[in-house]
Symmetry: C2
Subunit: 506 residues, 2 copies
């Protein structure tokens, strides 16, 4: 019987490897869409992507997979929890069960309406007209609630949606951690404001020639471990990390000649995602043990490299001399202390993507609470703009004077991606908790960074996170790494120390 | 019954449009392979391409297509020859019948051995060792002869292979036209040599900064009609024209700072291919009436724009001033007559891809005769290098001193592409015969070029060639355009006039 199960397992794997060809091709087609597609090629490209998505969906929901899984879930291969074979069977079953639970009609409607809703959102944001977007958001909300009902849940429909992005996580646990974070973070942000101290941001806004920004960014990305023989860096309107194969990880950024931080920290952020992708087991590409475990864990890697590494003093002790060499005019007369303060400027603001390490998580908590209230029926879409503005005023002390810099700023809701936002803050929390542990196991990392040593941290992440693929759930992973469940404390300790020093807080 | 046939026809078309998504995605994946793929991504990319090719092959040989065709070939839709529906049915039937005639085992073996043979050829060329390549070439020759037997033919197996690249053409007709061409071309080339006049080639080899070559090349490509909203220009080791959709035509070239002609005429050549692709009916993309009719006709478009337009005096009367502006140092003191002579330098040489407008076709005729002799069993692979060298000496008066600049120079044979070479010269012949007719119908084109007017020729080609897709065979097309069958005379008239003047031949 073991021979029989092994044979079935091989069939399942072969099927998934073929699907991985299509998915990685989809990755390339999407990347090209964002980078090099001629402007008039957009319509046909959408058709190509739609066709590929359909092909992939059909392959992933083929009835034969259910037959294979039925045989495998009770076999020896699924016996040893967290083994590669158990992970493969468990995760394929999880995603298979989820996809067949939702009626095909609903899947197609979500895709179709999502596309139209996206167009309406772009228009509404441009014309600052929430009313134009409102019926579409209502529609997407309704469709996602239908999806949650189809998927099923224990306590709240939000659970069913969260599961898509952060497998194994619950609304209750997320709420409790975010609540703890908010209670300590809001006073810290208030103290920064009250300090009346401002960072010398003007330094960052001097002239940084774009070609040199690219060269310097690639140099740093390579030095912290990104392999450019297995990846690239290109330019897009919105930075992302995509890919088209196990040795083909593609980062993008955007450059602003008068905003060094925008381009540079986008590169380091996407490099963090890219290091995770490059660290996944290549031989298991496209199979669960070779795939990223969750959005939250993915974000932990990008945030760790962007903030805990890239915005640390040690990092700049190492890179400041080459920065000055690359941009002699912009950095003339600038001390490393001024530079460090400038890249860590913190102040309450309206736009999430432009916010700093400290205030960022308050932007997320606001969104999390609003979307949860909408999904649970406690907030109507009509009331959303006012609720948004009130919450911003209460939480961050700033109030948008128009919806384009308020409730219309993010793309997520127009496509109905409810349950996505909290993964950003989960990423920051995972990152700090992992980083604390790494510091304990490897010695003071900032000292290593100051010596240009980034490999020890990368190797540690490879062993603790990357090579496990989806063998452990995010919460198992953080427990294995730190011996504790996820908590807001490591992140708060880090923020209090760093900004306490920068803003002379007692 | 008409309703029934219409319904079946719609099914056939829908099937082909879906296949076109995959084929155009294959186009993108292949383009990316040549342009931006990270070096370590090559192995997985080959697997992706192989998987896609298999998917496409299976779709194109599905049994249901035969059933649809059986119904359609006798329907009213196939009644009006050269109509869009007749073309669709006829050409799908032609390609379907061809693909099912060849056993799948053989198709796969040709693909597999072709890949290995390619590797052996690269190594043999690098080490100048024909013996290393010989068994692979023997193998490919044998496989292609098996393929020809499977496909069937009337007089020679070469017919069956030629049909793949130039549908409807026969070895007998091609031989007769090439024979006529050779008889007049060889004496012309000899007369050029005997003139002892040399062009001022040194001008072309001055310093032409690469960034400016790209800018100037794109400027010219756009001015002769290439739409960059529906296409791109990038850099690859070997120039080509590929594409990923009806509004997504991708040209590539290579640049050499000290060889202006190499990069520039590659751009114009590929632009010629690109103009054809951009001129095909977009709504029929992926269907026979929306696809290029043959390699020969494709090459007629690239050669016409490269040579008959791009190497004409009128063309440079228009572009020489902007050339001088773009490259003030390299063109300092150069007259337009010297420039015109330099870009039309003609002399016998060893390498086909570096040869000029006059000698080029002798390189092709040599290859055509050798490959035909091999396919027909009159020349063994072991005897090929000597036969190659002897024929070069006899025909062009030059003898390779090593195989890397002789029989090993081209990629085609290692992949078993016998029947491909003659399409290059057919392209030159079609081009001249069309160009003569265009001159007659539109007035002296060189005068138009001198005034920067390239639209009339492009519009003429759109009407005469591009918009017909595969509705007419290449020989029908040239007959429709010129009222005559294909002949060597227009090309010879052109070459004699042009080089007679340039080299003071009487």
């Amino acid at each position: 019987m073991v021979g029989q199960a092994n044979e079935t397992f091989e069939k399942l794997i072969a099927h998934y490897r073929e699907t991985a060809y299509l998915r990685s091709i989809e990755g390339l087609v999407t990347w090209d869409h964002m980078t090099y597609l001629p402007s008039k090629g957009v319509d046909y490209r959408s058709e190509q992507i739609g066709y590929l998505a359909g092909l992939i969906h059909r392959r992933r929901t083929e009835k034969v997979i259910a037959d294979w899984l039925d045989e495998l879930v009770n076999s020896d291969l699924a016996k040893d929890p967290n083994s590669r074979s158990d992970c493969t069977i468990r995760e394929i079953k999880r995603s298979y069960d989820r996809s067949v639970k939702v009626p095909v009609d609903l899947v197609e409607e979500i895709a179709r309406v999502g596309g139209q809703s996206h167009v309406a959102w772009v228009e509404a944001k441009k014309t600052d007209n929430f009313t134009h977007f409102q019926p579409w958001l209502e529609r997407m909300l309704d469709l996602r609630r239908q999806q949650a009902e189809a998927l099923g849940y224990e306590s709240t429909p939000y659970d069913a949606l969260l599961e898509e992005f952060e497998p194994g996580e619950t609304t209750e646990r997320v709420s409790s951690v975010l609540e703890g974070l908010r209670n300590e973070l809001a006073p810290l942000v208030a103290a920064i404001v009250d300090s009346n101290k401002t960072a010398p941001c003007e330094i960052i806004q001097r002239k940084y020639p774009v070609a040199m920004q690219e060269k310097f960014g690639k140099h740093v990305a390579a030095e912290i471990g990104f392999c450019f023989d297995s990846g690239r860096l290109d330019v897009t309107a919105h930075p992302f990390c995509g890919g088209a194969g196990p040795n083909d990880v593609r980062l993008t950024t955007r450059y602003d000649e008068h905003d060094f931080a925008n381009g540079f920290f986008s590169i380091i952020h996407e490099t963090g995602h890219g290091l995770y992708e490059q660290g996944l087991p290549k031989v298991e590409f496209g199979l669960p043990p070779g795939e990223a475990v969750s959005l939250g864990i993915h974000e932990s890697q990008s945030r760790m490299w962007e903030n805990l590494v890239g915005r640390s003093r040690g990092f700049w002790q190492h890179f400041f001399p080459s920065l000055c060499e690359a941009f002699p005019e912009a950095t003339a007369g600038v001390s490393i202390d001024e530079w460090y303060a400038a890249v860590n400027d913190s102040r309450p603001s309206l736009i999430r993507t432009e916010s700093d390490e400290a205030t960022y998580n308050l932007h997320i908590i606001i969104r999390y609470e609003l979307e949860r209230a909408m999904i649970e029926g406690d907030l109507s879409v009509a009331d959303l703009p006012t609720a948004w503005n009130d919450t911003y005023e209460k939480t961050l002390g700033v109030r948008p004077d128009k919806d384009s810099v308020g409730v219309l700023q993010d793309v997520h809701w127009c496509e109905g991606m409810f349950g996505y936002f909290p993964t950003y803050t989960l990423g920051n929390l995972y990152a700090s908790q992992m980083f604390d542990q790494a510091n304990e196991e490897l010695g003071t990392l900032e000292d290593a960074f100051a010596n240009g040593e980034f490999r020890p941290l990368l190797e540690w992440l490879r062993t603790k996170v990357h090579e496990h693929g989806q063998c452990y759930s995010p919460s198992e992973m953080i427990q294995n790494i730190s011996g504790k469940p996820l908590s807001h404390e490591p992140l708060m300790r880090h923020l209090k120390t760093k900004f306490g020093e920068l803003y002379d807080l007692s």
